[in-house]
């Protein structure tokens, strides 16, 4: 599902980051760990075709990313990648429902109310659809953001620091929710984190059928 080979990225007037090769099968989980600044975010951006690698190849869901121009990359990302950012970025100007409708708009798809409600329903937050994000608890907001990430049934879910600023119990719940959602969707899940609690949380919740891979990055300037 996700294969990288000889991957590196050179920041303009910055460090050259080299990444170990990975081969993550469909439906598996990749735990991308390492300290801040080691390149986790850059790796996510590379796999989401947001930036092009300086060298190396990336194939995601059978698509060689170097074959995509910027327009095709946007369209491909809308279909293939679901993203759960560290800061959830739910728009305060819009209701929960409208936040998901905006995700459909961003992906160039017509508004599909039944799909939006189904995504919210799957995460147990459909009753929150008319509310503004400011009226949600932290856990509710994260569920809404996850519903937005999986709304278009992506092949890959990228979760960036999903447990940051959560207490232990909430962190465990968040990881469990991610695993359950990815499994329900048959999606490959990538969790980028420097939080050691994530690995601990995965163990009891983890379904061995999914397959777990780890990629530990170290901060090393070459």
């Amino acid at each position: 599902m996700i294969q990288t080979s000889q991957l590196s990225y050179q920041y303009p007037q910055g460090p050259l980051l080299r990444f170990p090769d990975v081969d993550v099968p469909q439906g598996a989980v990749l735990l991308l760990s390492g300290p801040s600044g080691c390149g986790k975010s850059t790796w996510l951006a590379l796999v989401a075709a947001l930036v092009a690698p300086t060298a190396g190849q990336i194939t995601v869901a059978g698509q060689a990313l170097d074959a995509l121009n910027s327009v095709a990359a946007d369209a491909w990302r809308a279909r293939a990648i679901g993203f759960l950012p560290q800061k959830l970025h739910l728009s305060a100007a819009l209701s929960v429902y409208q936040n998901l409708a905006m995700a459909q708009w961003a992906a160039g798809q017509p508004e599909d109310a039944s799909r939006i409600h189904a995504a919210l329903q799957a995460l147990g937050v459909d009753d929150l659809a008319p509310r503004k994000p400011g009226q949600l608890s932290g856990g509710q907001a994260q569920r809404v953001a996850l519903a937005r990430a999986v709304l278009l049934q992506p092949r890959v879910i990228l979760a960036d620091e999903p447990t940051a600023s959560l207490d232990d119990e909430a962190a465990a719940d968040a990881v469990g929710l991610l695993l359950a959602t990815a499994k329900a969707q048959g999606a490959t899940l990538v969790i980028a984190t420097h939080d050691a609690r994530v690995a601990v949380a995965i163990s009891p919740a983890f379904d061995s059928q999914m397959g777990l891979k780890t990629l530990h990055l170290v901060r090393k300037q070459l």
Partner: protein, 400 residues
């Protein structure tokens, strides 16, 4: 459509800022609307009322006053001229037609104008009810005058001295309404027309002490001015000079005087136009700052849209759509405010019944207002939209 919907929601997520920006932009646009409306209506009034009048002959004094009082009926005349002198002009080889105008009285603020049937013919007005006068002390009302006074055929009234309401009444001289004109869109609509002899009769009855006195006054009859039409355009070169040098009267060319008037008004409108320009520039800066701040505040939201598959142009379009809404709202409000200002000016200076200056007029020139609104708002949004276009998803991922 969804882009416009989301832009609308984003715009009103900061209601105070959005409302202030709309208001600021609308004030500039209202000033422009006001200027366009006044210019359009003045130009229309001048074209309408001055058409076909080549020169106005009256007492020496301010030529502009002569035009304003005798043609547009918005000023007092400089004085009277002898009837004999005006009649002499009728025989001039370059003159096609002379229309006498005698002013001096009014009824409830509507001027009573002593003249000939030619005055009505000149403006191509037609009688809607009754007939034209065929004897002194019969009047024909303009359509607006009749409507405002609620007058009907057969009504009688007594004029009062002077050109505005409040003079003393000519108690023994009663006018009878014999006709009402159809609306002509000209100055006639707001006048009371009668035979020139009516004006003489009223004042001679009022002033004469005995029959000898009346006879003496008949020999010295006057009119206020005469509207003159030339036989040939060449007359414009010599006729005014002839009048100004060979008679005790002056000749004023409407085109020349109105051009002077517009030049004088132009100084005022230039100031107002500059003021409107400053307002629009301020509004543009305000819109720019608001949208620039919006991009900075929402950098993460915008980056997330890119992550969700939105192309850069779509993200930029969201910002431009916010500016579009600002421009459209400001254009609508600016047009309404401008119409309100024009109506208020017309009412305050009482020009709504003379020059027909007022609001709720929609000349085609007003199309410039929405164009300007969109130009300013979209122009101010260009840099912020570029910022949105270039928003970095990597920065979002790196938590910056």
């Amino acid at each position: 459509m969804k882009t416009l919907f989301f832009a609308w929601r984003y715009l009103w997520s900061r209601p105070l800022g959005a409302a202030l920006n709309v208001l600021l932009l609308s004030l500039g646009l209202a000033s422009i609307t006001f200027l366009l409306l006044v210019a359009h209506q003045l130009s229309r009034a001048f074209d309408r009322d001055l058409a076909g009048i080549d020169v106005v002959v009256g007492a020496k004094g301010s030529p502009m006053q002569l035009i304003l009082s005798g043609v547009l009926h918005i000023d007092v005349p400089p004085g009277n001229v002898p009837l004999q002198a005006v009649r002499a002009l009728e025989g001039h080889p370059m003159v096609a037609r002379v229309i006498p105008i005698s002013l001096g009285d009014n009824f409830r603020g509507y001027r009573i104008v002593g003249t000939s049937h030619d005055y009505i013919t000149h403006y191509a007005a037609t009688v809607a009810q009754g007939r034209l006068w065929d004897a002194p002390m019969q009047v024909v009302l303009g359509s607006t005058t009749a409507a405002k006074l609620g007058a009907a055929l057969g009504n009688t009234f007594v004029g009062t001295h002077g050109l505005g309401a409040g003079g003393h009444a000519h108690g023994d001289s009663t006018y009878t309404v014999v006709g009402i004109l159809a609306p002509s869109g000209s100055v006639l609509d707001r006048l009371i027309l009668t035979d020139t002899a009516s004006v003489w009769k009223v004042h001679e009855d009022f002033t004469a002490l005995d029959d000898d006195d009346r006879k003496a006054m008949e020999e010295e009859r006057e009119v206020t001015m005469a509207l003159v039409q030339y036989k040939t355009p060449m007359a414009a070169l010599s006729f005014p000079r002839y009048v100004n040098t060979s008679t005790e009267m002056q000749a004023a060319a409407p085109a020349l005087e109105i051009s002077r008037l517009l030049h004088m008004l132009g100084l005022g409108t230039d100031v107002l136009r500059a003021f409107a320009g400053v307002l629009l520039l301020t509004a543009a800066l305000s819109v720019f700052i608001a949208l620039w701040s919006a991009v900075r505040e929402r950098r993460g939201d915008l980056a997330l849209l890119r992550m969700l598959g939105a192309p850069p142009a779509k993200v930029a379009a969201l910002l431009l759509s916010e500016a579009l809404w600002l421009g459209l709202l400001a254009a609508a409000l600016g047009l309404l405010l401008g119409q309100g200002f024009a109506a208020a000016l017309g009412w305050f200076l009482k020009l709504d019944t003379t020059l027909l200056l007022g609001g709720m007029v929609w000349p085609v020139e007003l199309a410039v207002v929405p164009a300007l609104a969109l130009g300013v708002s979209l122009g101010a949004a260009l840099l912020p939209a570029l910022g949105a276009y270039r928003v970095s998803v990597l920065e979002l991922l790196q938590g910056r």
